[in-house]
Symmetry: C3
Subunit: 373 residues, 3 copies
Amino acid sequence: MRKLGVLVLFNLVLAHQAVAQSSQVQGPVSGSSLTLFGIADIALAYGSGSIAHTTQLTSSGNMQSRLGFRGLQDLGGGLGAGFWLETGLQVDNGGGTAGNINNQPSGATNPDFMSFSRRATVSLMDFWGEIRMGRDFTATFRNRDQTDPFGTSGVGASLPFSMSIVGVTSTRASNMVGYFLPEGLGGVFGEVQVFMGENVSYKPGFQPNAQPNPQDGNGYAARVGWSGGPFGIAVSSGKTKYAQTATTGDVEAYSVGAFYDFGVVRLTAGYFVDEKRQFTTVKSKSYIAGAVIPVGPHQFKISYSSSGTDEFTDPRAKKLAVGYVYNLSKRTAAYTTFAYLRNSGDSAVALNNSITEPGRSSRGFDLGLRHSF
Amino acid sequence: MRKLGVLVLFNLVLAHQAVAQSSQVQGPVSGSSLTLFGIADIALAYGSGSIAHTTQLTSSGNMQSRLGFRGLQDLGGGLGAGFWLETGLQVDNGGGTAGNINNQPSGATNPDFMSFSRRATVSLMDFWGEIRMGRDFTATFRNRDQTDPFGTSGVGASLPFSMSIVGVTSTRASNMVGYFLPEGLGGVFGEVQVFMGENVSYKPGFQPNAQPNPQDGNGYAARVGWSGGPFGIAVSSGKTKYAQTATTGDVEAYSVGAFYDFGVVRLTAGYFVDEKRQFTTVKSKSYIAGAVIPVGPHQFKISYSSSGTDEFTDPRAKKLAVGYVYNLSKRTAAYTTFAYLRNSGDSAVALNNSITEPGRSSRGFDLGLRHSF
Amino acid sequence: MRKLGVLVLFNLVLAHQAVAQSSQVQGPVSGSSLTLFGIADIALAYGSGSIAHTTQLTSSGNMQSRLGFRGLQDLGGGLGAGFWLETGLQVDNGGGTAGNINNQPSGATNPDFMSFSRRATVSLMDFWGEIRMGRDFTATFRNRDQTDPFGTSGVGASLPFSMSIVGVTSTRASNMVGYFLPEGLGGVFGEVQVFMGENVSYKPGFQPNAQPNPQDGNGYAARVGWSGGPFGIAVSSGKTKYAQTATTGDVEAYSVGAFYDFGVVRLTAGYFVDEKRQFTTVKSKSYIAGAVIPVGPHQFKISYSSSGTDEFTDPRAKKLAVGYVYNLSKRTAAYTTFAYLRNSGDSAVALNNSITEPGRSSRGFDLGLRHSF
């Protein structure tokens, strides 16, 4: 038996459709799979502000570039187990994307190397829904993402996303245990999550002076919604604890998001309140209204978003973004996005890594190619 | 011919069985393969000591989480070539696990990123056994691993493993050339390894003062054993060289491990001596006795281990660990482990990242889910 | 439907041939594919110089070790899209290889972790050729590589490669947009590339003192050639901009390379001029002549190369390298290489990490195993 043997036990399942977002909920499992998937998205990006302008080749103008491995195993009777490992990519230079291992500023990781910081989870799922453990999106991120025609990617990304004052858990959290409602509840969907900062808890008399607060990075998030026919709506809230100082403190996020799909146009809208309970609480209010118009292989996008806080100068930015996507196939698209941002108060947000003065405007432009596999 | 062509040259072979441990020896090769494999293991872990307690989501409570690529090529006549690339994973936050590139403290790498620090090897194998080159487990690790019902993972991991004073080569070494005996020698198995610290060797008169010792990180390890029917036994020894100072020096490890499988229960036992030849030599003696009881899909584990040195206060820790594993399938299991550790002398070992005072005890608990792919 | 479903959508295509070099140009696409590929190459490497010698286990003595994912999608009518993600490997210790994210010294990344720093690109291709965006080889590297019988790997690597004074863009550049001519132009081939350093450009009056030059790391490269029957020739040139100081400035590279394949022997030759326009311009001139003799599974290699600058002492190194490769299969080879290097002027180049005095010689030796998958 020195001949090549048939060692094929199982085939790799490749997702051909764009994996725009981690699936939100998985129900009973029938069938096992192992999938290699990813997105390679690259764009020429120009940004200008009153101080400096930039021309760069950037990653992720239309969707976040990534490489992942995921699998499902059918355990019988509907019960299933699964894993998901996903690294971000900077396709322009070969790097990865940053993560955070403990939901605190101290846990930030280097973006130039690969780590499964986009998602690393193990799940159990059945008719009762899904238990998911590891690092994943927080429930409070989903309204920011799903109300944004630009999916929080590229120069068009919404201000409720990019100007969130919630900090490192605004998008994802590590050390998380989450529960997702199953499908088939008459359109009701939802999730609840608890995550940990993992600091040690000292007994009385043993607490060192310089030790981080044992609660830092602990938190929870939840989201519940309903969708039926062309309409859907969801509310979410979350909290992450940090010791109170002049510049930090517990953060909370509340939001409501909705969509209405007329077929010729899909409208989205969202309203977001973030609070940061430092010595003087800061509160931000943000909103977005967006539209996506699909015409055969063409897709037109427009969004108007605004975000600002109640700080002394009433800093606020407003952004208009328009985009066009030409789908060369289900997996490959060319796209362009233009965005105009206007600051007021001492807000000095600038687009595509340009720099602008407080109260001045910024413009940005992406021209790119996105390929999913 | 603008249609989709059939480009399938070869299928990916996926190992469905749990890859609990890198295979120890591979004989003649018949058939080629390329395998993507891994383990995603996540656990809620609680630890308490007299000073501080912790609640964390941790990776690898039952088996070490990993992602790997390996392959074999049949070169004809039994001769085969293979490669193995395996990164550790922290599934709770998406990171990797630390490695060491030169077998010295200076070679430690960052755990938060992916590298193939669990194993990176190229092999040639035939009837005469296997030559394996790269980074891999040291021969002295195998008795620590194979006598431990908890496989050196999670809160139940044995003290001969976790309290080894051998240092960075206790578990793995980089820059290693190893030889494994083939199977079919009447139950005899064995391996011998040489590894290099890769410091430069200066000629007389050129040695700079601050330069590391040219021998630092050089070493060897060997293991030989016999197994037949329900019984097996193995002895191992190894040495790694370091310049002698008050806190470091050559390290040596000696051990004997054995198992007896009664069917209803599999018993293991091991005895370990480590030496560190700093100005005042330190010697540690460790032992373990363990049992694994399989009952259908259920698995019960218990181990008692002890490790201590001959330093002034006779520091020693003793640990009792009990575990239960429920196999949902061959690839997926839920598990729980409880461990109690008692220190004596000025030993202050604590479980699951808790902190305890010298001579005080510590408790730890894991509740987790392990999924292999 | 609780049974295992057929989820196989697409098979993974595995390239069985050695992937010695990234393909230079891709034409019209017919058929889609997704490929996992790599090389694991490991060698025992000895180097000696007048000051110090080394014995190490190194990676990449015959070809650069790597792991990659690449894919092509047929978009119809010959149009295709593709991606390519490739990390370097240090198989001796499990690490990756360094990259550079912005084509400047500040952009260097850590070699001990994985990143797709060998290549990260997205492409569109059709009858008109290929547009390729991301991180890839520069056009000026290809003559260095293709005239070298040792493919710029291991102790035999040519001096025009290893002694280039061009800096970080000598081999690869990030943030690059390139265009490749299609095949079928009567033997004419070529490419042109523009790459960006991505520094911000300040408006007048806003430029901070310590800011890097906005042009640093911007550049371009081009190569054009012809091959027909046994003969081929190509010329290339490139430039990368850096602010002028006593030790740095714009770098330029010019070269011509050619081969003639007699069947029993393949001859290569190349001539290279690098310029570095610091306050006092430095110019290096390098050349190589090489031969590869294939005899069944055996391959004999020899090269003579030389590189030196016009600096005060006329520093120059000359190297003779001889190699033997035994192909165990198309994918696996054992090899050995011996090289002798002679310095003149104050050149102090040494082989395989040894150290030698200015004007003294160095010797090096590799004995290794290369496995492609």
